[in-house]
């Protein structure tokens, strides 16, 4: 009698087990392995730097995946494949076709991501603890990245992701060029208030303007989210050094726009990015989604606190002082 009961109990459990197993096996039919890609041009860097990148970054940011067995099983593999594809779009160490200036810019982005603890992703290191980076690793990356500054400062062809001096021949001469995502260049910003000034490792000097909506957002710390209609424009020049060491703006490099429209720019945290370079204000990007693969990756990870904008004025002044000095 007992054995009959047992048999009756075992049967449903076995059925459920077999069903789960069946689904699991079935899922594998939809498990497309990551496409194997060649490595046309691998990043070149000192051995100790490469070792860190290979250990902590290459699994997602290269064509040389060395995934664990569990990464290859559906449904985990679906998430892993998606992450790898997105990661490669933003940064791929196997397709490193960059000038010295661009290489420097990428290394600064990597350093900033590591230093801020944003990369490697926490979800990734949970499953892959050996990919965690140490303070010593960051120091190694930092030392190398800073050494690039001194090499490049003597060179003329400085360039990073925010610079684009190689302009195509077919100049449009239009004073209102439009970025592929619809952001249109306008001279209006020249009469807006300057919200801050900055420099970057690429020996550039920058002035950041904001329209009235943006200025109000800055003054009231209203960044989450920035109000629609905010526009911030960064005007970038090469640095020109005077004999006494003072630096002034030299040749114009580009004007970078960020236009807030939460309904239009849903893929990039509501910001429409645009960059207009050189004398003809040539817009950057081939497709409307260019900023998804370049701009927002850094802005999202490193400038979340200030609503995805770098160069927001620091919170270091008193109202009384500014009122007194503004009089």
């Amino acid at each position: 009698m007992d054995s009959v009961k047992k048999k009756r109990n075992v049967k449903p459990i076995a059925i459920v087990f077999l069903a789960v197993l069946g689904i699991f096996v079935g899922l594998q039919l939809f498990n497309q392995p990551l496409e194997g890609k060649p490595t046309p041009k691998k990043i070149e860097a000192p051995r100790e730097v490469l070792a860190i990148l290979e250990n902590s970054c290459f699994n997602c940011h290269s064509n040389q995946q060395n995934l664990s067995w569990y990464d290859k099983i559906a449904p985990i593999s679906w998430a892993v494949n998606k992450d790898v594809e997105r990661a490669r779009e933003v940064l791929n160490f196997s397709e490193w076709n960059y000038s010295a200036g661009e290489h420097q810019g990428k290394m600064y982005a990597i350093l900033n991501m590591m230093q801020s603890g944003k990369m490697p992703l926490h979800e990734y290191t949970l499953l892959h603890p050996s990919a965690k980076i140490t303070t010593k690793d960051i120091e190694t990356i930092k030392k190398y990245t800073l050494s690039l500054s001194s090499v490049n400062s003597t060179k003329k062809e400085e360039k990073n992701i925010h610079q684009n001096l190689n302009l195509p021949e077919n100049n449009t001469n239009s004073k209102s060029p439009v970025s592929p995502n619809g952001v249109q260049y306008s001279d209006d910003f020249k009469s807006w208030k300057v919200i801050s000034m900055s420099t970057l490792f690429d020996k550039s000097i920058r002035v950041i303007y904001g329209n009235d909506i943006a200025v109000k957002a800055v003054e009231t710390d209203n960044f989450h989210p920035w109000p629609d209609g905010s526009i911030v424009v960064k005007s970038v020049w090469k640095q020109q050094e005077l004999p006494d060491g003072e630096i002034r703006p030299g040749e114009f490099v580009n004007a970078q726009f960020m236009v807030k429209d939460s309904k239009k720019y849903t893929d990039t945290e509501g910001w429409g990015f645009a960059k207009f370079s050189g004398k003809d204000l040539h817009p950057t990007g081939k497709t409307a989604s260019f900023a998804k693969e370049s701009c927002i990756a850094c802005h999202r990870q490193l400038a979340e606190k200030t609503g995805f904008l770098f160069d927001v004025p620091m919170k270091v002044n008193t109202e009384r002082l500014i009122k007194n000095l503004q009089k």
Partner: protein
């Protein structure tokens, strides 16, 4: 005693309570150009009216009549959000240079102390203001 400690503690806990993000309002003046002084770790923005802009466009040693300039100087810092960048921080001083319709120049220096009108370095500062050239861009 404990009450005192409590008040002190509150003050320590909120050191930036009165600190704000500020944007300088130049009134009806427009941005002309800027500069960076690595030795002093300062960045300055030069604003001016149309006459001021014209004064700096040619090879002039003296500002034109009815010119108004403002040079706003800020301390700069490493950008807290990005290694490899710097950004303006504390507002340090404003300098105003004005000429009347006869070209007579007045100069004022202001920091968080008392403003100084026509201080002894006035001539040197006029020369310095006149050394600026408007930014070049499309």
């Amino acid at each position: 005693m404990s009450v005192c400690a409590l008040f002190t503690a509150c003050k320590i806990d909120e050191p930036d309570k009165d600190l704000k993000r500020v944007v300088f309002d130049p009134g009806n003046l427009k941005f002309i150009t800027n500069s960076l002084n690595p030795k002093k770790e300062t960045m300055s923005a030069l604003y001016g009216n149309q006459e001021a802009l014209e004064s700096l466009t040619g090879e002039n040693n003296q500002p034109k009549a009815n010119s108004e300039f403002k040079l706003i100087t800020w301390k700069y810092h490493d950008n807290p959000q990005y290694i490899g960048g710097t950004i303006t921080g504390e507002l340090l001083s404003t300098e105003t240079l004005q000429t009347d319709k006869n070209g007579k120049i007045t100069y004022q220096f202001k920091d968080n102390l008392k403003p100084e009108n026509n201080p002894s370095n006035k001539e040197e500062r006029i020369k310095y203001f006149m050394s600026y050239k408007p930014v070049v861009r499309p």
